[in-house]
């Protein structure tokens, strides 16, 4: 304990600007980068609310980094990635350009857009990573993060696709399409709700209704279009206001966060919860939070998918070591480990067909958690994510027209 205190105190004086110059790193070969990374420390800021994920990162990934590269991985748990964006932003405003606090962030969506717009990301280095070859950058769902082109500013880590969860012991046959779900809600008053946007998960549920009202996602892709928005939005608010009296507590209040809704589901107060990452259902069953009879499913009209990434801030003083971490995270072996349901159950962000034969065999041998709908099953009907401007407009419109 004393030693960690001393280490913390030392942090205040030690100057550690060894590989802050990203442009110089881009001119090196990968072997030279790995050599520069040796002995570095990576402060990885990430959402820290799941013990399984924490253990995978600290123990598995941290262990390999220490053993093979002499890199110390310092995982820093945060409640929301926006806190980290604010740290980097205020560092930039204060002129801290080469000795930032943050070396790596788990990120996507609006937070990525903020970082890219404010030039807070280290970009254009991803081709250096050998395991970048495993990534299918031709897939628009990988090369765009919520509609924002990635442009070599971040490295994919996991892919997720929205799914619903229900307790099969209580509700053996859940509705499988948005139309059926809306009918089900009206026929079963008080058993459904969704977190109020701008909650991340509540917001994506509203987008599913929005797609349904618009007759599909095709008309909504691309930059924001006010006319098309108004058309679909009017129908969406009508649908959501129509079901409101049939929601939990007659729709007079909505859960503020997905966590509150998960608790309602765990206690059987509502019949469904949903999540962008179906692996969370399996983790919750393993932790005893949800009943063993929990099952999950997608919609026949499709559910929205996205990719989450890791990003190196422009002012990280340990860019070389952070790149080694990213390369390790992309490796077939590391992606396989986290795909195991007892570890995490996260879907890979790489093309399995491009990995070594034993890794492919490993993926083929994985038996998914009974509560987690398989990624292949969900992928049969996948919907793209909208650009961030649409998201903001939908969230504001919901507040004005439904959540008032």
């Amino acid at each position: 304990m004393l030693r960690s205190l001393a280490a913390f105190l030392l942090l205040s004086t030690a100057a550690v600007a060894d590989t802050a110059d990203g442009e110089a790193l881009k001119g090196l070969t990968w072997d030279q980068v790995v050599e520069q990374a040796r002995g570095g420390t990576v402060n990885w800021f990430m959402w820290g609310g799941a013990d399984n994920i924490n253990q995978y990162v600290s123990d598995h990934i941290g262990g390999i980094l220490k053993r093979d590269h002499g890199i110390t991985l310092n995982r820093i748990g945060v409640a929301d990635a926006v806190e980290v964006v604010n740290i980097v932003l205020s560092e930039k405003e204060a002129g801290v350009t080469d000795a930032g606090t943050v070396d790596l962030i788990w990120i996507n969506g609006e937070n990525f857009r903020s970082m890219k717009q404010a030039d807070l990301a280290f970009c254009g280095y991803t081709d250096l990573l050998p395991n970048n070859l495993l990534v299918n950058w031709d897939n628009p769902a990988i090369s765009n993060d919520f509609g924002v082109p990635v442009d070599g500013c971040e490295v994919p880590w996991n892919t997720v696709q929205f799914a619903f969860a229900h307790d099969s012991a209580v509700l053996p046959e859940p509705p499988r399409s948005m139309a059926d779900l809306l009918d089900w809600i009206k026929a079963n008053p008080g058993q459904f709700t969704y977190p109020a946007p701008p909650d991340f998960t509540g917001s994506v549920f509203v987008r599913h209704v929005f797609y349904h009202a618009a007759g599909g996602a095709d008309a909504l892709l691309g930059p924001f279009d006010q006319a098309r928005f108004d058309d679909a939005a009017a129908k969406t608010w009508a649908i959501l206001n129509e079901i409101e009296p049939f929601l939990w507590r007659e729709g007079q209040t909505y859960p503020n966060t997905i966590v509150q809704m998960n608790e309602l589901f765990a206690n059987g107060e509502v019949a469904f919860t949903f999540n962008y990452d179906p692996a969370q259902f399996g983790l919750a069953v393993q932790a005893g939070i949800y009943p063993e009879s929990t099952r999950s499913f997608g919609l026949t009209d499709g559910t929205i998918g996205n990719t989450n990434y890791t990003l190196i801030p422009f002012n990280s003083p340990n860019k070389a070591a952070a790149m080694v971490v990213q390369n390790l995270l992309l490796s077939g072996e590391a992606q396989l480990e986290k795909a195991k349901p007892e570890v995490w159950g996260a879907s890979p962000a790489i093309e399995i067909s491009r990995t070594a034969a034993d890794v492919q065999a490993g993926f083929a041998a994985i038996e998914g958690h009974a509560s987690v709908v398989s990624a292949e099953e969900l992928a049969k009907a996948a919907l793209p994510e909208l650009q961030a401007d649409w998201l903001t407009a939908i969230e504001a419109g919901w507040k004005a027209n439904v959540g008032n």
Binding site: M1, L2, S4, L5, F8, L9, L11, S12, N43, F45, W47, G48, G49, A50, D51, N54, Q55, S58, D59, I76, G77, V78, A79, D80, E83, V84, I87, S90, E91, E93, A94, G95, V96, T101, V102, T257, V259, N262, E263, A266, N267, G268, E269, A287, G288, I289, Y290, P291
Partner: protein, 268 residues
């Protein structure tokens, strides 16, 4: 009703009122799921505690770090608060009201405003992300409590006892150790207790100044509380309340101490 019976009932009620909210946390920490309408969890598990004490969670390191920060903040606050409180409590001087207001300001101004302004300043000074920066930041809400408590202690402090000691040949440090300190000790204990607990429970200042790198226990706790892991939250919360309870128990007997020098001054 007899006074001691009433006191007993009041004491028990107060204790229950303080302890009852903690009972579900304690139960959660051993629960493997606890769903409505079960009165008690159906399955029990030590997993949350095992995780809390594993190196991965960093809880043990955080506990030591939080203790160190709270203790250092308390000592520094006492170094400032005792002389300042003495000046405010014993002497009338021009601008005393303004000094008191300035001292109180951090307790009145919302913490978020202080944190945001402070972050920019500390960033330029290179104090963000450091333990020393976090301790300095904690001093801002802590010093007003310490100073005001010491001011009220000194306002009923009779300086003639110090004069007597000096006239008997005691040197300044002897006067302080043998006369002043015993007289103000109960008040100092209360001030230190407040200082410790205010620092111990800081979230916002630690998060903004520490930038996540100074991972105190409230930060770790909030990460799990905000993600719905009631079992791990319960275990960390149990660990989190321990030092506060210990400090309270250890100082409780000093809090009611009485001393001859601490009597309201009577005009000669």
């Amino acid at each position: 009703m007899r006074a001691d019976v009433f006191r007993l009932i009041a004491g028990i009620t107060l204790a229950l009122w303080l302890v009852l909210p903690l009972v579900p946390l304690a139960i959660w920490s051993f629960a493997h799921g606890w769903r409505f309408p079960d009165i008690l969890p159906r399955d029990w598990s030590l997993k949350a505690w095992a995780y809390a004490f594993s190196p991965t969670s960093g809880v043990v390191g955080s506990l030591g770090l939080t203790l160190f920060i709270a203790a250092a903040t308390t000592v520094l606050a006492a170094l400032v608060g005792v002389p300042a409180g003495r000046a405010l409590g014993l002497h009338a001087f021009r601008g005393k009201a303004i000094v008191t207001l300035v001292l109180l300001a951090p307790a009145i101004v919302p913490g978020i405003a202080v944190a945001l302004g402070l972050h920019g300043v500390f960033l330029r000074l290179g104090l963000t992300g450091t333990v020393s920066g976090v301790i300095l930041a904690h001093l801002i809400p802590v010093i007003p409590y310490m100073t005001l408590i010491m001011a009220s202690v000194f306002s009923s402090f009779d300086t003639t006892y110090e004069d007597q000691a000096r006239s008997l040949g005691a040197r300044p440090h002897q006067v302080f150790i043998h006369v002043t300190l015993p007289a103000i000790l109960p008040g100092l204990m209360i001030g230190a207790l407040f200082a410790f607990l205010v620092s111990w429970s800081q979230y916002l200042l630690t998060l903004s100044i520490g930038g996540g790198r100074v991972q105190t226990l409230p930060l770790t706790l909030f990460t799990f509380a905000s993600s719905g892991r009631n079992d791990v939250t319960g275990a960390i919360a149990m660990i989190y309340i321990l030092p506060g309870l210990l400090v309270l128990l250890l100082t409780a007997r000093h809090l009611t101490g009485r001393n001859a020098a601490l009597t309201p001054r009577v005009a000669p």
